[in-house]
Symmetry: C5
Subunit: 297 residues, 5 copies
């Protein structure tokens, strides 16, 4: 997630460098053609690029809307994981017999491991990183048998809670209530994976991109005939806005791609870690994650 | 689902071949008329096609919005099926007496069969394909008595779980919790069928299509009087963008039509198959489905 | 629901016949005035109707959006009724003692009657049609004491299920689970009635309609001065698009009005009937409802 | 709620009388200035008011959208109250011992009183009106100790249901299910109060209003130079449309203000009253509420 | 929350003072350049700023939409806290043995403390303010061990309710129902924190702001050539509208920032306090919070 601190200009323009060069080249070509073949280029009414620009802004607005919704849904999912993680610890403390504090702690920390692991997995990074201190080596080995590592951790917690019931430290009814909370984690995991794995309709992006170049060409022809000193800057500024907004939309669409615009899953997992330690009254709690220069992961 | 890999140009343009030909013909007719009857064709202010173009982009944006929502809802339904399938296996393992592992396995694999069968059924393909190894011949025969094959599989699972309760391997309370999960599958199935069977308001699409041709005619008249070398290309490019976006919307509306833009139900069912095998600690798990050239079903 | 088959042109144009005549009359009046009083009519810049047209398309888009949402919500409600009806039968079969098959059948068929009756009631038709074979004469008589007939059927099912509990054929816990399903039917019924009884803000439609005529008048004045052969056709075509889209929105708003654009409640109820017969393993199942010429109710 | 019957023109124009006078005054001032100082007023390109008009329609569309959502949410809340009220009676009849019919009736009628009282309270009217026949004098007195009268009625029902449980006429499990229904009423009440008490962002409305006057001024200057006979009518008609749509939005925003555009809470409460009497098999049921001349409250 | 009473003009314009100065400076620079270098500045067609203005209004509309949704979601969360707080008291009174009134009161008032504390915490103010009379000193001390103070209060309530169960004053089933209500508070807390901690996509705001200045520059060049007396006022008025709407959006985005446009969390907590006292039949209830001059916090 980008923070409110000053975002480096370099970061912003690196995104559309190539496209801006294309726009300038198009502008220069049209200008050159205009100078040499002035009599052959008929007039392009300014209303043509103006209406194309309006159409682009309308379609871009749709694109931004849907992309924002994906990004916000991703954030909501991780927000729900925070809430349900707190509820899980409170429920374990309320429902399980008091002598089983060690097992409550084991389940709660394994759940924190699940949070870290899910975040890494969504980003395509090593899902076993950061969790060595939270689970034991047996659990670590068990994870290797699964293609979906976080699902393995979820199964371990489900089975250990089932064992608490079988050993009489949890009543059937409390067991079902805890199970409902586990189902929420299963849902959250699947929802995040859905966002990760579903590609935004590709053709839509292609056509929008194409329209921006149609706009650039028609606008440059339209401005070309009046010997305009601000033709190229104007082309670059307006098409730059469109291209940057389109890029913003594209980045919002994929919030688990290990980029500065990502949902800050590691920071959220760390918050859950701290809350869990507080609720378990642990003596040692980790420090909150600090933002990088202008973003937080 | 289209993947991010290079989409063949041929695939894109095959969709609007016929319409583009219409647009060119309209452009040529207007041009010819303009040459022979130049004095009789009055001026068409460029503001007319410009405003029609803006109106089209606004209405297209509504169309894209609703179509995207249908497509995304279809994807959400199949995402929910993934989550609930994982929860089902974990619940069976937590709730059913341990000696009944064979029945747990039978129910879990029959559920995987339900996933494959539902996907095929939605696409209008054979709902009994791919499931021979997952259910026994008795189940296969029972399916023939039902007009809705996946519903038959759901009933078998519901009744077998009820029998586990009757035989004392499941308590009443656990039974109700498992039933809640089965209700979710019934909901997901019905929701997908709703999207499949509900036709997007037909008249809306007709009027939008009609407006695009009105736009083409007015624009070609408007450009016709200035002896424009880019009249035809401009007509084709702008109306092509509109037609392609309209086609994109149409394809998103129907995500279960056995097309490259479909929701990848077979791939999702395969993921569920793999997860289920992992959770059951099966020795053999199937391989994930590989994408076709530029899409995955 | 309109099907994808060819919609008769007559059906479409019957809807806006009167308005189109108005538009032509306005166009002709302006034209006549223009011929006789040419010097007195000042110029109307084309930008005025162009911007009004854009404004109409924006406001029409809002109208279409909300209308579509109502239509889609109506379809979702009936989709939910399908899902919950299947779940109800599966729950009855799972929860009620096996010797009570006859009562399960009675409740399930009475529920099918509720589906037919609700559909008829929403459309303002006879709510006791089509259900003679599904409920007995005693139930039929009981319905007469209620102003809301489907609610009477729902109460009968609720009380009969409560009696199953009182007679010991259903445990308390299963009873509550079945009750949860009945609550869903009560919700669905009320939601459909809400859509039926809530009138879309009337003033909004009035003002939009008024703006379309303002557009027609300004456009015809604007085109009037240039002796235009396509003035009247253009007026008719553009305002016709607006009027047809506005009419589409109006029809989507009221999906229970016994019109071709209705939610196909009878067809959905028939599907439920078929599914129920399959699940009950009845020997006789009704045939699915066939679409009328170009729509299905 | 406005009904579909003919809405008096007087009702519509009373809403924007003052603003229309402002618009006419602005138009006349600009015209006078134009006549006397014709050489000093430079040209205002028509594109300026045209683009401002488009911007207003876009922003108005956002405003209408959010206002409609508030209005529709208010209607949904009252729709949910209908559904849950029916479910409440059915649950009381299913769950409470049969000999306690008198208490079931008392609770059901007190609940009807809650519906009337909530509607009155939301509108800022006397929350104790219309309910004298539904609750006894003791309940009436108890209400005086509460600042929120409907909440008092809800508490009475909750405590009486708890007493049924304490006296053994209701099992614990049924009690929890009934409590779930009461929680829904608490939610509905709070949601309606939220809509009532949350003011739509005031600055937004101010700026939009301001833009409409900017539009009027720029348009009148723009039209002023051509000695236009339709300047004033055009100004009034276009700005009138905007002002009426803005007013429509404002009225939709506040659906509990005792205005013709209100959510018809009294009529809904009456429907609940009738349904409850039918379900209780009361001999006397009240008549449905008839609409006023062109609206229903 | 801004109230409907007259908002001071000073409050509104303080927000965009700096930007308005920038706009005037740009206008004056362009004017000066136009006077001295009149022959070198080519014509800027008015269609360029007009279309940029339209594009800004479309993108602003998206921005307002999403910002409004955040603001409304924040208000919904606090509305849900009101509802669930009322339900909590009613459930405690219905479920806990009557002799434990003192503990019911202690839990209910601690919950009110949680409401105040959460509001303060979200605004970055002292989370221990206003709650001295509601919880005892032991609770106060316990809060110091937690980094998230409201979470500490929630844990205390969860554990005290669990103790009521352990001591036999609450049955298991009622316990689970109360726990469900506590889970809702955990959810509401996390959801509000999510809105507080998630920064609206920064780049989007930057690009929109940039486009407004591009609009100002192009419009001032476009108007500059005609020696216009209303160039500067027009620039200020139109860009002022855009800047104010953009600022409105920005303020709606962050509803927990201790500003007049905040969600009125303190006032809502006070309402909960009053309702709780009424339901507990306390002899003393606090007065409702009065609005500041033109807003309420």
């Amino acid at each position: 997630m980008l923070t409110n601190t000053k975002i480096p200009i370099a970061y912003i323009f690196r995104k559309i460098r190539v496209q801006i060069v294309y726009v300038i080249i198009i502008g220069l070509i049209v200008k050159s053609v205009a100078i040499y073949f002035i009599d052959f280029i008929p007039q392009m009414p300014i209303a043509i690029p103006a209406f194309i620009g309006t159409a682009i802004s309308v379609l871009l607005s749709f694109n931004l809307n849907q992309s924002y919704d994906r990004w916000w849904e991703a954030r909501k999912i991780w927000g729900a994981i925070v809430n349900d993680s707190r509820s899980l610890v409170l429920q374990l403390q309320s429902f399980v017999s008091e002598e089983k504090q060690a097992i409550i702690r084991q389940i709660a920390l394994r759940h924190v491991a699940w949070c870290y692991s899910l975040g890494q997995n969504l980003r395509g990074l090593d899902p076993k990183k950061n969790i060595e201190d939270l689970i034991n080596t047996e659990d670590m080995r068990e994870m290797d048998n699964h293609s979906n590592k976080p699902l393995a951790l979820l199964q371990m917690n489900a089975l250990q809670i089932a064992n608490l019931k079988k050993d009489g430290h949890l009543t059937e009814f409390y067991h079902v209530q805890l199970n409902t909370t586990l189902v929420k984690f299963s849902d959250a995991m699947g929802m995040a994976e859905r966002i990760k794995n579903t590609i935004f309709p590709v053709t839509y992006r292609l056509f929008l991109h194409f329209m921006i170049y149609v706009f650039v060409v028609t606008l440059s022809i339209s401005l070309g005939e009046i010997d305009s000193i601000y033709e190229i800057p104007l082309l670059v500024v307006i098409s730059g806005c469109f291209l940057l907004l389109e890029r913003t939309a594209t980045h919002l669409q994929d919030p688990f791609d290990n980029r500065p615009t990502d949902t800050p899953v590691t920071a959220v997992a760390r918050t859950i870690h701290i809350n869990t330690c507080n609720l378990l009254k642990e003596s040692k709690t980790p420090a909150p994650l600090n933002p990088e220069s202008f973003y937080i992961l």
